[in-house]
Amino acid sequence: MGNFPILSAVIFLPLAGAVLIMLVRAMTGSQENDVATGNKALTAGLIFSVATFLASLVMLASFDMDAEGYQLVEEVSWFANVQYKLGIDGMSLMLILLTTLLTPLSLIASFGSVKERLTEYTIAFLVLETFMIGVFCALDLVVFYVFFEAGLIPMFIIIGVWGGADRIYASYKFFLYTLLGSLFMLAAVVFMYLQAGTSDITQLETFAFAPEVQTWLWLAFFASFAVKLPMWPVHTWLPDAHVQAPTAGSVILAGVLLKMGGYGFLRFSLPMFPDASQFFQPMMFALSVIAIVYASLVAWRQTDMKKLIAYSSVAHMGFVTLGIFSFTEVGVQGAIFQMISHGLISGALFLIVGVVYDRMHTREIAAYGGLVHKMPVYAAIFMLFSMANVGLPGTSGFVGEILTMTGAFQASTWAAAGAALGVIFSAVYMLTLYRRTVFGQVTNPALEGIKDVSVKELITLVPLLIGTLLLGVVPNLVFDVTRESSLRALQMITGG
């Protein structure tokens, strides 16, 4: 590929699309919100996001799995000692692929589903995609922080403008939590720069912060990542945000934004603050296990489909932190895998809820029942993803759970046993949800005329379905890519 800045290209391709759409809109001067114009904008956005996906495949092709360290590095002086520096390793590559896959799928799902201000909607998603990819490419702390925080804005707008009835409360809550975390992180970033004299991540990885300093820095980063992930007890923004967000927003939120928390722990907390990470291991285990058990039990009691899946996300992200803080190869590889897997599965589950929401305009579980008689294909797909969500072997859900728990077992049998309880509870809430919505008799007369999944909906669900099964059977596709980066993170924490 020579010196072509492929990372920058992938990052800014969606933004270019957004700018183009804005320009066209400005030139045609059309301020109207008719659906035809909106659909054109959405189609244009889709083309750009597909192009981004293809570009990310080029990235994958030019990636050397056996090489250590960062690849495809780009470096341009920005200001002061701050470099505009990009680069990827295995784990960031997988998360980028997840992002570039989910974005076009969410845009497809929006056709016919979102009806107002489609042009702005498309722009928001494209901008968001740029920021998300940027987060996973950044090799400079400042660059990372800019992308990380900027990503808040479009998501905040997506929920606040295209959300449900209670969208203001939800977006406010989302904002308040994330901002709180961010401020601590900002302070830490500034402090680190002052101490180390650089914001280059590769250099910060080798810079030895004093143990007591590490503790504070670790906590500051933790504040931000824990909210993003989210971990108990700072998780309560997530159910509200999901319930109010439009379907596509939920897909991206659960599929990608939550992963930034896990990514942050692996990219910053472990390598830069190894002593503090070791120190806080018991706390992280405790919080992870609480998240798994607590959120699973709460999920069981939900009457709103989206809330249930949101709580399920909290529980599943608990496995991610469990794996990361086991400091074992099995646990860390499992955690990265769990992030990818959860991105596919939860994304699909939110799409699945969206399918019936678009038809019935309610997310109340009680409004459904007996869907299998009217929507057999839908029922089959829903079953498959339900099973993936409960971690049935053969789906990607299993691999992440068993590996993270195995990793945790090496550090604490308590943590492993507690997390394994989640294996029981996930079956309880997921099968209950499925049974109430899909099985049984059709009791709600409004369901009589409900139509099975459309071709458009199949196009969004089938790639995720294939991904979930493929990674369930051949997870090495991911492990081969992420192996070096996992080992590298572990090496830094064990002081090798």
Partner: protein
């Protein structure tokens, strides 16, 4: 052993058939799906049964691939090199030492299991042509049946714990789907969830057991793990403890320091308890009878529920060196054998009687394995598959002939209408009660296997093995009850006057609209309530299973538990040098040989008196509602207790975490609390508010960025 392509066909064929039947049912139609799945599984069945005969009698050993397994010369017992053949299909999980492949591993244990699984499954497929002929979702049904077969085969041909877990949960999924096959009704849905969740409780243990195996041995593959135990190799756990010979290794687990093999044995057995419906985790099995009867025969009698027994036998080296874990297996098995038999006596649903009977027989298998007679456990698993599948399919034939009637109180006198079904049920009953003449070859299949278990249990008692004595006596007592409830079933169903006091419209309500499809063959008018004999596709499986129920014990006694057993198992089952139970069972006192026959006849006589000669007697007991009868009829109130404690407790906790934890405490102190504060402040400064929250977002983040950038700039410039 069969050539590789045949093994591949046996294992993967049903999976492929399930996939095609499930995905393309629109294009290949119901009949296409039925022919495809039945043909595939049937052919796999024939191949597997041939393989078993070859292996047992045809010098299969010479053809087999000998892996250079460590000869157990040191420990003496198994002089024969272990025989196994592994076809590696694809690497599955490759993370550090966590290596698991998709593989097909064939040894004596899996050869036995493959024959049982595909043999019974093929017959059940065929039987379902008749039984399910009126169901509008046949393609789905056959797809699930084949999916189950595939998952079960993957379980028994795994070469590592992870693939075993895949099969283990895969059969759980198939079981869930098939129990809830009639998903429009409440009861099957409830039962399906109950089965899945209860199994998950078991899987909680199994998963932790597998993790413990990995951490202790640094591997999840059977070969290195089991070899290390046999050789008492020094292992270096990945964590938790330092290097030590495995049989002496102690690891911390939760609050305790326990021998590694003991805790692994206990955890794996918890998994087995769930899958095999053992005491405490048995509650799902009777409810699973909500599924179509062929499913009950295949999954909830012959195959899936025996997976736990298979697991314990597969990891026999663990239990050989973990006396406490083995003792737990023994006592749970013994209690289950007796408990389920007591409940079985007081049930009126024909399928539930057989379900509890299954539970009880599984208990026999477990306590046999627990005392160290794994071969006897596998033998009973093998013979039980025939007669229990036969009993279920026979019951299904009755249910089919009676237009979906399952309550034995509304039956009676059916023998006249269904002579062939009656004959099959009689054969099954004689087999399950284990009727046979000691010291002779006269007896049905159950006689050989059950007596082998009881004799080894007595021998184990004399060796002082933990709980062996309890197991022996519970086994004898359960044999008495088995005979009683089995004959009770026969008498209530087939003998006496025809008790068709049900109003005709009740039958109609249960019948499907296209009921006549199945009944036209016989010239019956389905509005008429008379039972009728089942069609040929249902009778053929009954006939073949009857042959198995009669002869399987006689034919395979020598190979499984007799003098050829060492050669037959060929290292697949491991016993320590001082475990001679299979030889010692020939030397037990004379009365031990005769005790099973004595209790069996006693049970028969009591049942004959109370349910044949004096039919009102049994009903009177039931109506009087004595405390013992109530206890049995209500399954010792297990469901009630679980509902009131674990389930209600979890529900309450879920609600508490949600309403109090999330809403009141976290939100109340967090964002909502801050909101109120902000509102209070803002009432004074409302002029500055534009009302759009995202304006603030931009302002705050913009300010933060500018602020940060300025700092960097200055610091950078200074540096």
């Amino acid at each position: 052993m069969l050539p590789d392509y045949a093994l591949l066909f046996i294992v993967l064929g049903p999976g492929l058939a399930a996939l095609i039947a499930g995905l393309f049912q629109k294009y290949i139609t119901d009949s296409g799906a039925m022919v495809l799945t039945t043909g595939t599984v049937g052919l796999a069945g024939i191949l597997s049964v041939v393989q078993l005969f070859m292996f047992a009698f045809g010098g299969g050993v010479t053809e087999a691939v000998h892996t250079a397994g460590p000869a157990d010369g040191e420990h003496g017992s198994a002089a024969v090199a272990s025989i196994q053949h592994i076809i590696t299909l694809l690497p599955w999980i490759d993370v550090g030492q966590f290596q698991a492949d998709w593989a097909i591993r064939v040894d004596a244990l899996s050869i036995v299991m493959m024959a049982v699984i595909t043999g019974v499954s093929g017959l059940v497929h065929l039987y379902s042509w008749g039984y399910m002929s009126e169901d509008p979702h046949r393609a789905r049904f056959f797809s699930y049946l084949s999916l189950f077969t595939f998952a079960m085969l993957m379980l028994v041909t795994a070469d590592n714990f992870i693939q075993l877990f895949f099969g283990w949960e895969g059969v759980g999924l198939a079981s869930y789907l098939l129990i809830g096959f009639w998903y429009h009704n409440k009861a099957p849905n409830d039962a399906a969830i109950k089965a899945f969740v209860t199994n998950r409780v078991g899987d909680f243990g199994l998963a932790l057991g597998i993790m413990a195996v990995f951490v202790v041995f640094g591997s999840v593959e059977f070969e290195p793990v089991l070899s290390a135990i046999k050789e008492n190799a020094t292992v270096t756990p990945l964590a938790l403890a330092g290097a030590a010979p495995i049989q002496e290794l102690v690891i911390p687990f939760l609050a305790w320091d326990v021998p590694a093999l003991e805790i692994i044995g206990v955890l794996l057995f918890i998994g087995a308890m769930g899958k095999s419906a053992q005491f405490f985790l048995h509650v799902w099995l009777p409810d699973a009878m909500e599924g179509p009867t062929p499913v009950s025969a295949l999954i909830h009698a012959a195959t899936m529920v025996t997976a736990g027994v298979y697991l314990v036998c597969l990891v026999s080296p663990i239990y050989e060196y973990a006396p406490w874990a083995a003792g737990m297996v023994t006592i749970i098995g013994a209690v289950t054998a007796l408990y389920a038999a007591t409940v079985g006596m007081a049930q009126n649903d024909i399928k539930r009687v057989i379900a509890y009977s299954t539970c009880s027989q599984l208990g026999y298998m477990f306590f046999a394995a627990g005392i160290g007679a794994y071969q006897a456990a596998m033998f009973h698993l093998f013979t039980h598959a025939f007669f229990k599948a036969l009993l279920f399919l026979g019951a299904g034939s009755v249910i089919h002939g009676m237009h979906h009637e399952q309550d034995m109180r509304r039956m009676g006198g059916v023998a006249k209408y269904m002579p062939l079904t009656y004959a099959a049920m009689m054969i099954g009953t004689i087999a399950i009660i284990g009727l046979g003449l000691p010291h002779t070859q006269l007896g049905f299949a159950g006689f050989f296997s059950k007596d082998a278990i009881l004799e080894t249990a007595f021998a184990a008692t004399e060796n002082g093995i933990t709980f062996a004595q309890v197991a022996f006596w519970f086994g004898i007592l359960a044999a008495l009850l088995t005979s009683f409830y089995s004959w009770r079933l026969i008498y209530m169903t087939f003998h006496g006057p025809r008790e068709d006091s049900m109003p005709a419209d009740v039958h109609e309500a249960d019948s499907h609209a296209d009921d006549h499809l199945a009944h036209d063959d016989h010239g019956h008018d389905h509005h008429h309530g008379d039972p009728h004999e089942s069609p040929l596709v249902m009778l053929i499986p009954l006939g073949l299973l009857s042959l198995g129920a009669i002869f399987a014990g006689l034919i395979f006694y020598g190979s499984f538990v007799g003098h050829d057993q060492g050669q037959f198992w060929a290292g697949a089952i491991y016993t320590t040098a001082d475990n001679h139970l299979l030889e010692e069972k020939y030397n037990v006192p004379e009365w031990v040989f005769w005790a099973p026959l004595f209790v069996t006849v006693t049970g028969f006589l009591i049942a004959t008196f109370t349910y044949l000669f004096n039919r009102g007697f049994g009903r009177k007991i039931a109506e009087s509602g004595g405390p013992l009868h109530s206890l049995f009829a209500n399954k010792w109130y297990f469901d009630e207790i679980y509902n009131a404690t674990i389930i209600a407790g979890s529900r309450w906790l879920g609600g508490f975490f949600w309403k109090t934890g999330d809403k009141r405490i976290i939100d109340g102190l967090g964002p909502d609390g801050i909101t109120s504060l902000v509102r209070w402040v803002s009432r004074r400064q409302s002029a500055m508010h534009t009302g759009y929250l995202y304006h603030y977002a931009f302002v705050i983040i913009g300010a933060a960025l500018v602020f940060g950038a300025v700092i960097f700039w200055r610091v950078g410039g200074a540096g």
